[in-house]
Subunit: 380 residues, 4 copies
Amino acid sequence: MGTAGETSGLALSQDILSGFAAMDDAQKLDFFRDVARGMNIDPETVRSTLDAYERDPSKATYRAFASAAEPRRQELIRRLNALPGATGALVRMRADLLRLSRGDPELEAFDLDFRHLFASWFNRGFLVLRPISWESPAHILEKIIAYEAVHAIDSWDDLRRRLEPADRRCFAFFHPAMPDEPLIFVEVALTRGIPGSVQDLLVEDRKAIASHEADTAVFYSISNCQAGLASVSFGNSLIKQVAADLSANLPSLRTFVTLSPIPGLRSWLAAEGLEQPEPDQMSALAAHYLLNAKATDGAPYDPVARFHLGNGAIVHAVHSDADVSDKGRKQSGGVMVNYLYDLKKIAQNHEKFATAKTVAASAAVKTLAAGADLSKSQER
Amino acid sequence: MGTAGETSGLALSQDILSGFAAMDDAQKLDFFRDVARGMNIDPETVRSTLDAYERDPSKATYRAFASAAEPRRQELIRRLNALPGATGALVRMRADLLRLSRGDPELEAFDLDFRHLFASWFNRGFLVLRPISWESPAHILEKIIAYEAVHAIDSWDDLRRRLEPADRRCFAFFHPAMPDEPLIFVEVALTRGIPGSVQDLLVEDRKAIASHEADTAVFYSISNCQAGLASVSFGNSLIKQVAADLSANLPSLRTFVTLSPIPGLRSWLAAEGLEQPEPDQMSALAAHYLLNAKATDGAPYDPVARFHLGNGAIVHAVHSDADVSDKGRKQSGGVMVNYLYDLKKIAQNHEKFATAKTVAASAAVKTLAAGADLSKSQER
Amino acid sequence: MGTAGETSGLALSQDILSGFAAMDDAQKLDFFRDVARGMNIDPETVRSTLDAYERDPSKATYRAFASAAEPRRQELIRRLNALPGATGALVRMRADLLRLSRGDPELEAFDLDFRHLFASWFNRGFLVLRPISWESPAHILEKIIAYEAVHAIDSWDDLRRRLEPADRRCFAFFHPAMPDEPLIFVEVALTRGIPGSVQDLLVEDRKAIASHEADTAVFYSISNCQAGLASVSFGNSLIKQVAADLSANLPSLRTFVTLSPIPGLRSWLAAEGLEQPEPDQMSALAAHYLLNAKATDGAPYDPVARFHLGNGAIVHAVHSDADVSDKGRKQSGGVMVNYLYDLKKIAQNHEKFATAKTVAASAAVKTLAAGADLSKSQER
Amino acid sequence: MGTAGETSGLALSQDILSGFAAMDDAQKLDFFRDVARGMNIDPETVRSTLDAYERDPSKATYRAFASAAEPRRQELIRRLNALPGATGALVRMRADLLRLSRGDPELEAFDLDFRHLFASWFNRGFLVLRPISWESPAHILEKIIAYEAVHAIDSWDDLRRRLEPADRRCFAFFHPAMPDEPLIFVEVALTRGIPGSVQDLLVEDRKAIASHEADTAVFYSISNCQAGLASVSFGNSLIKQVAADLSANLPSLRTFVTLSPIPGLRSWLAAEGLEQPEPDQMSALAAHYLLNAKATDGAPYDPVARFHLGNGAIVHAVHSDADVSDKGRKQSGGVMVNYLYDLKKIAQNHEKFATAKTVAASAAVKTLAAGADLSKSQER
């Protein structure tokens, strides 16, 4: 990858990317191992350049150290990226790497290089927020159908019901180098009051309201689209940006909430010996779980709770029979939760959560949680 | 810059960027010094994490090393970039740093961090080639006027003469995050035969030819626009991309050449004791200079020659009285040179140049160079 | 509609259009009758202004005559059209008029005013040809599904099969004032050789060829979209424009043909006493029908034949079992026909057809027609 | 122009338009005369078809009458328009006709046909309002410079001063078939309070205010761009549309006024024997003139007053020394006038003006007018 290669570099990059695309998994694994090992840092060089830099901190010694301290496989990824359309191919390459690297320390380290570069390339400042509507191109929309991970879209008619009515919105982040690939998208319902069930939102023969009649924006589905961008987070930015944009365009909106699943509830209940709680106990137990169930690091056990509380939202309300689909019943006994984004308080909530792991919640949810019957659990 | 700052990070970034924009040079210098020093690597941590990684190469130890080996000021730049419009502000910030850092090793090292990130962000794969025409927005065109660095554009009428005729083209690279800022642009004349003077190309009352009548595309001006992107090279890509695009769209084109200045000629002649060569010797001396004058690293002394030869072009022809402007007379006694881009041979030429510093030239130029009278010079 | 109304005209126009949209058919009929009668020409005024113009042909007398000779209902339509979005509403209004006016001479005369204005407004020079692809907006694509009149599109998957493969194209005319409404569209298959059945073209698990491998462009479906633009013809322009554009972009294309239904065949056979021809006679009878069956005006009996022959195409080939759908069997016993558009000969073919009603056909089709067994028919 | 010509029509149209473009004035005049005479109505046919229609009003008889009553030269213009780009050529053709037809009744009648078609084609519903800004394409902006008819734009820097500042706006109507040709444009200044001089608006070293700080939008220049669209009026629509759009986007705007020239003042004063009024009388005389000077039809003598009063504006204020340019001094002794557009009252003002020729004015202007010293005038 020296100077000599600069001009013929594009041709070589093309060969590598095409070659990789044609490989089977075993070959890909070999390729990843070769690169991970062959283009790793050389500790001795790192040490000697570091010594030289420490003795005489100059442009030249720093350059030598920086060059030695970054594995050459990072430069390889940058070189591959010089090709038109390569960014998407590299995202798919990392998806393969993640899939194939589990448990292999060398490959997991290599993945950190991908992640490091992707965090830089997919920086919020480079992303473009675009509305997704019934006027969007079909090849984008079919990806929305495919990538929806929360409440499956089962047909083009279902999709239209989520995009076309005056009280529905959808927004996605795109990267300019992958203009046809949504990175993450959020579906929004404009409502009067905070809804307590996703069935009400998605019912087929619904009468839409005019957007200026709505006082509430409900983020009822957020889906990441690219496996290859795992751990490169945009959800935080997306919700805040969309809330800010909606707020500016629809001054009648007062409340920004989610209607969120509680994916960890059932498994936590099972772990607590509460496999079969009384139906009328479900929402109290859910409230208790959201406020008190912790992972080993002290953060909320529930991944969705962790995400929204980390963004500065609070646990606002808990609803039973809110998602009666098979999936909803299975993961949380049909209970759902509203996280409230109060644009004026999210910075402060976030700080408290980040520093003290404080879970902010409404009085109602706290009261509900206090009434949870944990007797069976406590017996254990 | 820990987790706690993630949410309030955008506000902080905004403060830093606005604050910086309002600083005077002394304050900027202080800011740069604070960041360069305060957010530098800690050699002890680099060593200890490297040791740990070497003992037990795992995802966790690699992450710790990678984190220690990259100065935190790089992460600062990435965080600032999360703001809308920040990329342009960071490019301007680096222009300030370059201007203020000369000779200061600490700041020059800091600049390498900027350069490293910019090389990644302004990767060819992220750039967009756009034609610049008389139908381009005026606020872009006024930047073309301002940034033209080779043959100054002295009015909007002059600009129109370079853009509007059927036998003129202009192309620029843009970055999606700086849509109003050309990064580099090239002006092209479509001609019959290879022109020997820039006056002929830029004369006011010229009769344009139809584009399909042209057999030659002349790159007669290439200008970098952003001081803050110094050493982040796109010229190579630009010429090749434009040549390829023109070739695809205008099959009658057979020849791709530059009409280039020879900026180092006069100073080299002076150094050789040839301040006042005979007029009829100028082109022979220029040919000799282009083929034989070397910098200490063995590469051509002339920076423009270095650029085009490095791209795989050859020295094709040398013309006297080719640029009779004050600037042209001053830097090269009015002599100009055509570098020829033979799309089929540039890879091979480039390799020879890169590996053996071989300067490829036409037979005519070699003959011309052989006839240069260096007697006065050699006396010294 | 005098000067007084000019400013408040827009509000009035808005009232009329909204009012009309809310009417039931009986009310619409009343509205049409009121306008047709109340805003008709006044023969006495026409005569007197004509006399005055003939006596003294001047700007003033011509203006008076022109004003009298045009019924004020034309000006009403123009005034209504001043509203944003009104053009589409007027097209729908005419669709209602056509539906409700049958047999009513007053309303049919009124419709001629609509048609006269629409022919002027939807002039070829105002139309925009746009490709329809899988990247087109979904709200346009759902109209393509709805409007396809020849070979029904039964799902979004079916639509994708007609748009996404490299060897499929679709183009539509749009009017700038109705940007979301295709006026007419044509579906094209790029093939090697001329296909003899629509099943082959539309089969689900087909392997697409690269577009540059195709030598033939097959116009296999042309659908008008707007009932309110009946008798305002664009099909002619569409086919020729698309053929010219494809020819320019895909130089490998040599042949431009249709694969067309023969909608009048069965009814003509029945009229001739040939309800149950032998299967192996169908293509010969179809050829005979296309070449010899005439309407009372001497033009071909078959409406699709009339259209393509009028455009300057020739009857190129006839295929049995070419459309085995219910509809195909019902209207033509499954027989289809290729009309060939030879871009170099269409003007000349058109002239012959227009002046002498000459039906141009390939030798093969003429031979086939000559072998048709009309004995049963001739008995009658 | 029968059926026979339909296909070859485009080629013929192309010949006519190219041929016309190459003609000198004498040839154009011959062409216009040939068409005007040779494709005029035939009075006998009009009469006979009218008789037939009156006897038996049917679709067929109406069609025959309508066809006879419209001169075939209208159909010629429509046929020419079928070519891409022809609309602009036809507008230029009419500009020639207007220039060459003065006083020739036959040609003036022919021009009415052009005007009739253009009024239909350039209907408000077909026009597109586009902002003109410093980000607009240069080839559009150079037309704005060329077409400015009120306060000349003398350089690109002058143009930028009118487009780039935050308190300046410009809007133009375009027709989709002439996307590069503005039809009419208006320049707007956003101000605090109503300005009393155009010098203040156009001064070079002005400090712009933020757009949300403005309470007043001043239409200080309205220019028609196309001589060939004379008498096809869009100014009315333009001002109202722009006022409505600005009002929606900048809620702080309370007042919409013009700052208008008084082009007829000097000539009226001269006709009244008031060639040299006292300077301190100028504004009173201007007020009197605007309120009381009438053309023979009873409408205001001043053409600009006629335009704005006809739109429903009122005479709001009169300012001396408001346009001290040569042109301003010459036409109105430097006096200018604000016409006020009160969006709530324009319909009502318009009706009164249209029906009773009532000139609406502010109390201040009425008082000012009452103080005009007409003694010298009245002596005559």
